[in-house]
Symmetry: C2
Subunit: 309 residues, 2 copies
């Protein structure tokens, strides 16, 4: 089983409007709701790939109840979310149907109290002991200690040595990386914040020296750059793909975890991650991947080894 | 008891953001939720004025449950909402804290099926028989017949002759007004759509000829214009008031209904409506009225009679 952790789960709401005009009133022509937060997105993609996957984190209030209901509705993800008194946050994406552009509003998330945090740690330790791989994803809700991810990396190691992938940003990433997770997956901005360097290759290598066994940097449409104990690679989509990049990073995480759980060599993990990411950009539904694009693109991607520094 | 009807209730969500920048991602710094839809806003103001008020309409899904929970939490409004299978819509107001401007997104509302509509009619008829005044407010959710308000005006008359105020727009208003409600309260745009005239005084009089006993046209910050069986008046705030106009129209409706229930003469109804409306613009919380402003402004407003045409 693969375990994904989403401490700050969300109800992802999408509003479609004919045209976004700030400071006016809009009639919403389409509404969709889905379980959100990076770790739940990753779990859904893993389940669609045929993996057994369990999702934990917090869920509370009417929004949390709806997240759990939607998760139970055919996603294939096992719900191991821990209740909290506060309400799960919403994220709202407003899609302008004229330009295709998206404007995003992210609520901060519920206040987690010490007893809720302790209940989560208990559940997590139990689940991590049975997991083949663990993904720790996204932001921390208010009340969760900023060093939470470092604690969770160490707890997974103590519980059963499942390798941990960490996908977060800012201080939570800085603290988490020091606990030596197996993989971190920053984007260019997160990497620059962590290392102080905007040059992707040296920054990716510098991030490894901070503690992660492997660093996989997302370069957006330009693919992935990975510095690992087995070497350094760059994997690029065969052609530029137009579409909606929402969830493409989460699909890349799912590809890396899937390869980690199957113990694939690094080049195969990277091509899978890039193909899933590209297939997500091409999907009609934001955050899902298009299986046809995935099948077509995967064989066209090569992970190119880069020379040692 | 005063009865307010909100067929398309809403969970009104407000997001505060430091600055609205279309096509970017925003961290929401403040979230508030309240029961919404014009009729629920009217009910809340009436209850705050000390009236016994009952609210009916539809509520369903997790959003509907939250609307009912918030309504029960100290508003003083008696909840007589009828359950529906679909989820109550959300409205989202995004407040730009730099400019103070609001951008609004309104979901369409749940699909109401014929059995739900029949259950509502049954409940409504029962309640209208006991009401001193009835307000029919806002848009119709999908599935409710476009002639719904005409039916509800006639049903109130048949049940117990409670006078009906109708506050809606478009085809729902056009059909409703033909059933001869006691009062309609269009704004300038709704009035122009109903009558084809953009000149407020002739248009207000033309709307009366379509069936309403009295027409009270909202002129925004310029106050109210009323054509009634007792004469024509204009009531204006003593000075321009800056603030948030959200809910000012609903407070004006509450003022008119309050005066109708107390059988006040028209000039007193209009000054109360204008004072409540102004006190809502000045309130710190969108949609509430500021009692201090109300007390201060009410004596300064005079309804000026206009000559017959």
């Amino acid at each position: 089983m693969i375990l994904t952790v989403t401490l700050n789960t969300a109800l992802d709401v999408t509003h479609r409007v004919p045209r976004l005009l700030p400071h006016t009133s809009h009639r919403v022509t389409g509404v969709t709701e889905r379980p959100g937060g990076k770790g739940l997105n990753v779990a859904r993609v893993l389940a669609a790939l045929g993996h057994e996957v369990t999702a934990t984190g917090f869920a509370g209030g009417p929004t949390g109840a709806l997240v759990r209901e939607l998760l139970a509705d055919g996603t294939g993800v096992v719900d191991a979310l821990v209740p909290c008194a506060g309400a799960t946050r919403r994220t709202l994406a407003v899609v302008d149907e004229t330009t295709g552009d998206t404007t995003q509003f992210n609520e901060p998330g519920p206040q987690i109290d010490p007893a809720e945090w302790a209940a989560f740690l208990h559940r997590y330790t139990e689940l991590a002991a049975r997991a083949r791989a663990v993904a720790l994803c996204g932001s921390l809700p208010p009340g969760v200690p900023v060093g939470a991810y470092a604690l969770l990396v160490r707890a997974a190691r103590a519980a059963g040595a499942a390798p941990v992938l960490l996908d977060t940003s800012g201080e939570a990433l800085r603290r988490g990386v020091a606990a030596r997770p197996e993989i971190i997956k920053p984007n260019a901005a997160e990497l620059a914040e962590l290392t102080g360097s905007r040059d992707p290759l040296p920054a990716t290598r510098a991030a490894r020296r901070r503690g992660a066994h492997a660093v996989v940097t997302s370069l957006g449409p330009a693919g992935l750059l990975a510095a690992t104990p087995d070497g350094t690679w760059r994997a690029t989509p065969p052609r530029p793909l137009s579409g909606n990049p929402t969830g493409a990073g989460d699909s890349a995480v799912a590809g890396l975890l899937s390869g980690l759980a199957e113990d694939l060599p690094w080049p195969a993990r990277l091509t899978r991650a890039v193909a899933l990411s590209a297939a997500t950009v091409r999907s009609a539904t934001a955050g899902d991947f298009d299986p046809g694009t995935y099948e077509e693109i995967a064989p066209q991607i090569t992970a190119v080894p880069l020379p040692a520094p």
